[in-house]
């Protein structure tokens, strides 16, 4: 079945089983592997993408539900890889293994859109669903603060 949607600004038609989770459709059908799967149960946030600007857990979100909507993945977050969060992430060398970081950045980007000057509590609450086994959390906080300061 073909599901028509916008993916990173481009109109696409995804030929996928409607029940297929969006994360698998993005990875296996559209071939964008920046979105990661790490739990498959919406428990870790590694698969976070934006649908119409809202962060969702793509590993449990059926691809059929994005018909006619706009999906943004880490690859489409910025034209040049220089979203303030991506820059801050690099300046602070946040990533260790890097695997969860696409999801971390996408969740953080949605936070900054919603709350351009987040408090520490805002950051903790927004990021609580994104797990990092390497333990980069304190740098994630710092990078979000830095990006927010740069934006404001």
């Amino acid at each position: 079945m073909a599901i028509n949607c916008e993916l990173n600004g481009e109109e696409v038609s995804l030929d996928a089983d409607p029940s297929m989770p969006l994360a698998h459709a993005i990875r296996d059908i559209a071939g964008l592997t920046g979105t990661k799967v790490a739990c498959g149960k919406a428990l870790c946030g590694a698969c976070t993408v934006h649908i119409d600007g809202q962060p969702v857990r793509a590993c449990v979100y059926p691809v059929s539900a994005v018909a006619g909507r706009s999906v943004t993945t880490i690859e489409g977050l910025s034209q040049d890889g220089n979203h303030p969060l991506q820059v801050a992430w690099r300046e602070l060398n946040v990533a260790q293994c890097g695997y969860c970081q696409s999801g971390q950045i996408m969740t953080a980007a949605a936070l900054l859109t919603r709350t351009p000057e987040p408090s520490d509590d805002d950051i903790n609450t927004a990021m609580d669903g994104n797990l990092c086994r390497c333990g980069t959390y304190t740098r994630i906080r710092d990078a979000i603060r830095r990006a927010a300061e740069g934006q404001s």
Binding site: S19, I29, C44, I74, A95, Q96, R139
Partner: protein, 750 residues
């Protein structure tokens, strides 16, 4: 109006499949980030080049290729390894290109495990850079007809001061071609380092932040099948019968294959089971869910954690095998104190579950792409299982989405290769989180018994330590009943305690799970037990925990377990170069206490706890500040870590490893536990096997690196062992309640 782009899987492959060599990556990504030892573009290999050794290739376009033979899993080796080579080579950081090595014996050990990359290969890496530098100097001298001694290398070029001549490395390639490869060279002085010791940015930073980093799970090959495998719930069990009728009805499912039964001992081999192969991951998982399988759970169906825990504790309470002894640990004492510590099975749970892709080529050769910590071992294992010459096997190393010991084992790569051979198509095997937690190589469960005797004035005169845990040896030798000396050397034989009468015993314990390495391995429970127990003695002796700890470590000296009959391997390195130096241990204890403001007034319900531990030739002290709320729940508010790892290559990556160890240690202290029922692991995902989330993260994790002239120690693992005991000791300081069992959530504290 944008054109509607239809994407089916086949079209996607067609669109992207033209890229060289037939290997399809989903994306075009920066060549510097491409984790493949392949030509990275038409221009890359057209340039003539010279290879002074297997780690360096200098191209005539001036680019120095550095070959990274170790695996990147978050520790930063893809940054620190080129730092070392480029420094000795006098290369310009902006003119290097990093190439990820395939598994091959021409490299030194590629087993990225045991925190060994720098501590064991620092000289090898320096030599790779220094000999390459000398080769370029020799080439320039020959070209110019001047003595070698009059030439020097700096900033990617060779200079001849007397004549003012300069030649860039790229321009010297022709002259260097065919020159002898020097085997040794003089190393630079430490004060001349340009990159070593500097906090260089992570080389993969752009890839990590733009979704272009390629992990094991991201590999895509033309006509590839996606596999998902149902394995026996119990370790070592086998398929009795199965029905795949419903599986084959799932759209996208192409085949169902029963894997060969597992062979004991498991080593690094596959575990059997039934694989469903499909045109995408989702279809494979749906098809797998529709399988109906009858299992013979085999001999480990008897494994249930509750009764096993009782047995393990009983074994630790009974006399064991003497491993080390001095004086008479059974000598009478004025006061005796004893305690039992217990810690459960854990899973490494890297964020990227194991994933591998394999393909057989027309000439019978086999290629695999995997997030492996050990491509040499993977290659050997594949050769043995497939029965083909290892020259016919290539193991490409992707980035690893975390490893922590799990990805040292190649079982998942074997699965992909067996299925590729069976189906005649490239196959990617992707483990789910449930597969990872239920079918991994478990961190061992452990019980320890401690007993100390004190005289009238409170001096500790005797200590008995018994340690009981199913051994990693059981993964390699059937029926292994007790710890190997290597495991006892992880924080037990090398205990620093300055007690005149001391004995260490190991106890028998049978394994019913597949046991494997986990970040810092046995040091986790040995530090938890011994640092917890020593902290207990502080209270009994009426001493401040820091003062007690420093006194228990005793005066600065080198501990040699052989003096007391202990067989100690010192992480494979010499005690002369890397002694067990109690002075350095005390120094990190005092420094970290100072950082944390030890002795300051704390609000009610708050406590500071300290622990120190030497492992992998590095010394780490940790202090935790915890608070306990009105519900009795614990929070870790702030942490401090101090590491003495000798010389460090990239201090920022060392700091990040300490920060990560603090979080990893919190996870196992607060939440981590795997249990078994009838041989099957009870937990399946992050809901039942929680790891620390942002809301639990301390407001700050402070890290200090000791200045040291000592040779490099390990970094990836040594931060972890002192974290859990620091938290447990802090909880005692806050509440007066001693916890001797992990995780704390079982005591209702989280």
């Amino acid at each position: 109006m944008s054109e509607l782009r239809k994407i089916s899987r086949r079209q996607f492959l067609k669109q992207t499949g033209q890229a060289g060599g037939g290997l399809v990556f989903a994306l075009t990504f920066a060549t510097a980030c491409q984790p493949q030892e392949e030509a990275v573009g038409p221009a890359a290999k057209m340039a003539a080049s010279v290879s002074p050794n297997v780690y360096v290739n200098i191209r005539n376009d001036g680019i120095v290729e550095i070959i990274c033979h170790r695996s990147e899993m978050g520790q930063g080796i893809r940054t620190s390894l080129p730092q070392v080579i480029a420094d000795e080579l006098e290369a310009d950081w902006d003119k290097i290109e990093l190439i990820q090595a395939v598994g091959h014996e021409k490299y030194a050990s590629q087993n990225t495990d045991g925190s060994t990359s720098i501590r064991q290969q620092f000289d090898l890496l320096r030599n790779a850079g220094a000999t390459a530098r000398d080769m370029m100097i020799a080439a320039a001298a020959a070209e110019w007809g001047v003595p070698v001694e009059e030439c020097s290398a700096r900033n990617h070029a060779v200079h001849h001061e007397a004549s003012g001549r300069t030649a860039g490395y790229g321009d010297l390639v022709d002259a260097a071609d065919g020159m002898p490869q020097p085997e040794t060279a003089e190393f630079k002085s430490r004060e001349d380092y340009r990159y070593i010791g500097k906090p260089m940015d992570t080389i993969d930073g752009v890839a990590f932040t733009t979704g272009t980093a390629i992990y094991g799970t991201d590999i895509v090959l033309p006509d590839m099948l996606y596999a998902s495998i149902e394995r026996c719930p119990a370790y070592g069990g086998t398929v009795t019968d199965y029905d795949d009728t419903r599986s084959r009805e799932v759209a996208g499912v192409v085949d169902v294959v029963r894997l060969p039964d597992p062979v004991m001992p498991p080593v690094f081999n596959h575990q059997g089971g039934v694989a469903v192969l499909a045109t995408n991951t989702w279809a494979a998982e749906q098809g797998r869910a529709a399988l109906e399988i009858e299992w013979d759970r085999g001999p480990n169906a008897v494994y249930s954690s509750e009764p096993y825990k009782e047995q393990l504790i009983a074994s630790a309470m009974s006399p064991g095998n003497e491993v080390l002894s001095r004086g008479d640990a059974d000598a009478p004492a004025e006061t005796m104190h004893e305690a039992v510590y217990y810690a459960p099975h854990l899973s490494q749970a890297p964020m990227e579950p194991p994933a591998a892709t394999a393909r057989f080529n027309e000439d019978g050769s086999c290629e695999a792409w995997a997030c492996t910590q050990n491509p040499q071992s993977a290659r050997d294992t594949l050769a043995a299982v497939l029965g083909i010459d290892k020259e016919q096997i290539t193991v490409h190393v992707t980035l690893l989405g975390g490893g922590f010991g799990r990805k040292s084992k190649s079982d998942f790569i074997v699965e992909a290769a067996l299925l590729a051979r069976e189906t005649g198509k490239p196959v990617k095997v992707t483990w789910t989180r449930e597969d990872d937690l239920r079918h991994g190589y478990l961190h061992s469960v452990s019980a320890q018994y401690f007993r100390a005797g004190m005289d009238e004035d409170g001096s500790v005169t005797t200590m008995l330590h018994r340690t009981s845990f199913p051994s990693i040896s059981s993964t390699f030798a059937p029926g292994a009943t007790g710890p190997a000396s290597m495991e006892l050397g992880l924080g037990a034989i090398d205990a620093p305690w300055n007690v005149p009468n001391m004995r260490l015993e190991s106890c028998d314990a049978l394994a019913h799970a597949r046991i494997g390495w986990f970040r810092s391995v046995c040091n986790v429970w040995h530090a938890f037990g011994s640092c917890g127990f020593v902290d207990e003695l502080a209270a009994i002796r009426g001493k401040d925990p820091l003062e007690n700890l420093v006194e228990m470590i005793g005066p600065p000296r080198n501990v040699d377990p052989a003096d007391d009959g202990g067989e100690y391997t010192n992480y494979g390195q010499s005690l002369e170069q890397h002694p067990v130096d109690t002075g350095r241990l005390t120094a990190v204890a005092e420094k970290v206490a100072d950082m944390a403001g030890w002795g300051r007034d704390l609000p009610d319900g708050h406590g500071l706890g300290i622990a120190v531990h030497r492992s992998f030739l590095a010394y780490v002290g940790a202090v935790a500040e915890v608070s306990v709320d009105e519900n009795g729940d614990i929070a870790v508010d702030e942490m401090w870590l101090c590491i003495d790892a000798g010389l460090v290559v990239n201090p920022d990556r060392v700091v990040s490893q300490m920060e990560g160890a603090a979080i990893f240690g919190m996870s196992l202290a607060l939440h981590g536990e795997l249990t078994a029922t009838d041989g099957a692991i009870d937990q399946g995902n992050f809901d039942t096997y929680p790891i620390v989330r942002m809301n639990e993260v301390p407001r700050e994790i402070h890290v200090h690196i000791m200045e040291s002239d000592a040779p490099p120690g390990g970094v990836g693992e040594p931060g972890l062992p002192p974290v859990a005991p620091a938290i447990v000791n802090a909880y005692f300081a806050a509440t007066g309640t001693r916890v001797r069992e992990l995780p704390l959530r079982n005591a209702g504290l989280t």
